[in-house]
């Protein structure tokens, strides 16, 4: 049967990205249909629509840096097909530091520091230059702790955001890079938000058209301590969201948890974790403690929520994954899932595969 393009498109919209990558090789007509940027956007919007019952996957780099492995979280945790990594990126300083709309932000230190925006499904990638800061000879230097990549819908642009702190002056620096304009800009008002070095590198949490990290706050309107900083994508400004209650960083370990429409924070003390979610975004009084089965020790850190309201946890030591659900579910039935090709430094990010390509302003490398 020879289907007309409109009907082919309807069928393609229902297929997963992986099948579409394969079907690009069937014939030229199919290739041009699938490679069309408009189609890629439509496909992505359809795939992540809430009605589609789509669960975000988890992505991580294999310990030999030959591939990016993918893990699905529903109905139970299982491996998905991996993505091949370019030969040139096979080295031990490669690390995932952000993910958005099928793109993964990677940073590399050897042979020289570089940032890369990469779509694992299509293989296309672009180098992002480090900010050019002649007054600070320490840039590029791996002392940025808050990083992430976001999508600016109004401009069809991708932004890379970095928050760093100069080691000597302890002064924070916030910058963002726009792929379309191919340049870095300073973010105003970043003086009160200092990335906390003891928290190490943080993946940002994307929620409600903003990206979030945990930082130390020095503003005058709130006692000094850890808060959540939100970078609003539309206005390019930073704002503060207080925690459920003030934290002494030496007592608690904090991490942001999201996915499936939740915005939460996990607080781990020496015994066990607590998870708070914000019912109403940015309303301080709406933090509530979630009522669900939690690990009974502090070896686990939460990775993400799933559509069915469970939380996927990772064991810090052996990197096993486990899913905890509502109260009342049988604890004996909890299955531990072993990741393939991981090591102690493996970092997992939430990931949604896509066929999208970056707006052309950077030179595109295939």
């Amino acid at each position: 049967m020879t289907l007309p393009p409109e009907l082919l498109e309807i069928i393609f919209l229902r297929l997963p990205v992986r099948s579409l990558i394969q079907f690009k090789c069937v014939c030229k007509q199919w290739r041009s249909l699938i490679s069309d940027p408009y189609f890629a956007k439509l496909h992505y919007d359809v795939a992540i629509a809430p009605t589609h019952n789509n669960n975000t996957k988890l992505l991580y780099l294999s310990s030999d840096f030959s591939r990016a492995c993918c893990v699905k979280t529903e109905p139970s945790i299982h491996h998905d097909y991996p993505f091949k990594l370019q030969e040139t990126y096979k080295n031990h300083s490669l690390r995932i530091i952000g993910s958005c709309r099928g793109f993964v932000l990677l940073r590399n230190y050897k042979p020289k520091p570089v940032l890369i925006l990469w779509n694992p499904a299509t293989g296309s990638h672009v180098r992002v230059p480090y900010p050019n800061n002649s007054s600070n000879s320490e840039f590029p230097c791996p002392d940025f702790f808050c990083h992430g990549v976001v999508y600016e819908k109004s401009n069809d642009d991708y932004l890379v955001i970095m928050g760093s702190v100069r080691p000597l002056k302890r002064k924070p620096e916030w910058k963002f890079f726009s792929v379309r304009s191919n340049s870095w800009k300073e973010i105003e008002g970043g003086d009160c938000f200092t990335p906390n070095i003891s928290m190490g590198h943080q993946l940002g949490l994307l929620y409600n058209e903003a990206i979030h990290w945990l930082v130390v706050y020095n503003g005058s309107d709130y006692p000094r301590g850890i808060v959540i900083v939100a970078f609003d994508i539309a206005t390019k400004t930073l704002s503060m969201i207080p925690l459920p209650y003030p934290q002494d960083p030496s007592q608690w370990e904090l991490s942001l948890v999201g996915g499936a429409g939740f915005f939460g924070i996990c607080m781990l003390n020496e015994f066990w974790p607590y998870i708070f979610v914000m019912k109403e975004y940015k309303v301080e009084s709406s933090w509530i403690l979630i009522d669900m089965l939690l690990p009974s020790d502090n070896t686990m850190i939460p990775l993400c929520f799933t559509q069915s309201g469970d939380v996927v946890w990772m064991n810090r030591i052996n990197k096993d994954l486990i899913k905890f659900g509502k109260l009342g579910s049988n604890e004996e039935e909890l299955q531990e899932f072993k990741l393939d090709f991981c090591d102690k430094d493996t970092v997992l990010v939430m990931f949604n595969e896509s066929l999208l390509s970056l707006p052309s302003s950077c030179r595109q490398e295939e």
Binding site: T2, I11, S19
Partner: protein, 226 residues
Amino acid sequence: MDKWPSSNRYSLKAALMINYNPVIPSLCLPFLDLLIEIMSIKEKWLSAWCIKPVGGALVRQEPEYILLALMGSPLKKIMLCSSEKEIFNVEEQVMVQHSVIINNMIEDGSYNHEESKIPLDCVDSKTLKKVIDYCTHHTHHQNDNQEDLEAWDAQFLNVDSNGLYDLLMAANYLEIRNLLDLIYGTIKNMIKGKKIDEIRRIFNIKDHGFTSEEEEQNRKEYPHFY
């Protein structure tokens, strides 16, 4: 009631005079559409006349006056004409329920029950028969359980590639949503996970349009697709 145009009030009166006659004269039909529209807003009008909806029909309760109004009477038939000029008589309600195109034609009054037949020049007799079969089964068996319906659907789509294509074109033309979804799902399952050569065969792609270098490049980069 006072705000309704006088012709419609007459129609209602005429309709109410019908005793035990389930078929409504055509002059009442436009009024019935109005009634059904109002149904959602002004229930009290209907309750004043003791009319209530009973599964797609409006039934007046008093035994002396049985007003049976249907969105397409179940006994009413329409004529569909295939590309081979073969005529098929189908219950109006069945086609109206499934095909958006036919529903629109009957609703906007461009179709005259007594005289005209609906020409479907792009659908041949064999396919039209199958489509009618599908719609009829799904209307008459809509209260069956899900498994039985799915089993019937699977059996229904047990056709060769050409037959499936013809069904898809017909369902697309007639805008039969659930049949379309069913066929798309089947095609999706047919091609997911298959090798490229197999897919080319299914879709009758004789010339893939790539140069021999491009084709070689593809095979080298993705050997597991072939």
